[in-house]
Subunit: 109 residues, 2 copies
DNA sequence: TCCTTTCGTTAGTAATTGCTTACGTTAGCA
DNA sequence: TGCTAACGTAAGCAATTACTAACGAAAGGA
């Protein structure tokens, strides 16, 4: 059914850990639908460029974003594939074969 | 559209942090579809009861599970409501108004 | 070749984490 | 009342985290 392979437990460690930092979620939102250079990303925040670079490394190692080089610049973008893998992982944590529609239906009474 | 209110940034910190620990994900899977007592949960793992108790506290404070007292026992169960809130939060991080079906369709080519 | 731009890496620090052992607390029973 | 079962809480420790300042590296002109 799903095109992407399921994330391993170790992948889940890395993904959820990466997502647990508000700064990293902000970065991810910034590159959610377009490529952005490391410097442009860093300019958006009140921490050093170094800190942002380290956050980018964490996100990249978690498979949450892709990197492309263009001269001295490095362009980052969120990986859509990982998003749906995370959706599937959440469903797997809660219960085996839940479909999301049913859960939403339960909540609305 | 959604019945549950969106999770705050702080809630997301707590949720993703709680989920970033493999032991806590295991605990959550254990109580995914039924109430289980703290002692029963602890018996499943090779760490002390104390460690499990602390994990339960982290999960509870993240809103990921509910607690019910029965005599001296405390029964825990995963909160389904939070699952769909997390699904929504993931979509919000990646891009504004994505529907999950479309993403899955993209992946299957 | 020299200089600048754009970036990652290293070293170091205060704060947090997952774990342990030891100690309370509450409910129920004899 | 005393005892036990089933818990949470506190103190402490080695390892990790998010950050800063300082340094290194590579690409592209003048």
């Amino acid at each position: 059914m799903s095109a992407a392979p399921a994330l391993s437990e170790e992948d889940l460690d890395l993904c959820f850990h990466a997502l647990s930092q508000p700064r990293r979620r902000s970065i991810l939102r910034l590159v959610g639908d377009r490529e952005v250079a490391a410097g442009e990303i860093a300019a958006e925040f009140d921490v050093t460029r170094t800190a942002v670079s380290q956050h980018l490394t964490v996100l990249k190692e978690a498979g949450l974003l892709s990197e492309r080089r263009d001269g001295t610049r490095r362009l980052y973008r969120a990986r859509r594939e990982t998003l749906s893998q995370l959706h599937a992982a959440l469903d797997a944590v809660w219960g085996s074969a839940l479909d999301r529609g049913r859960i939403l239906a339960e909540e609305t009474r």
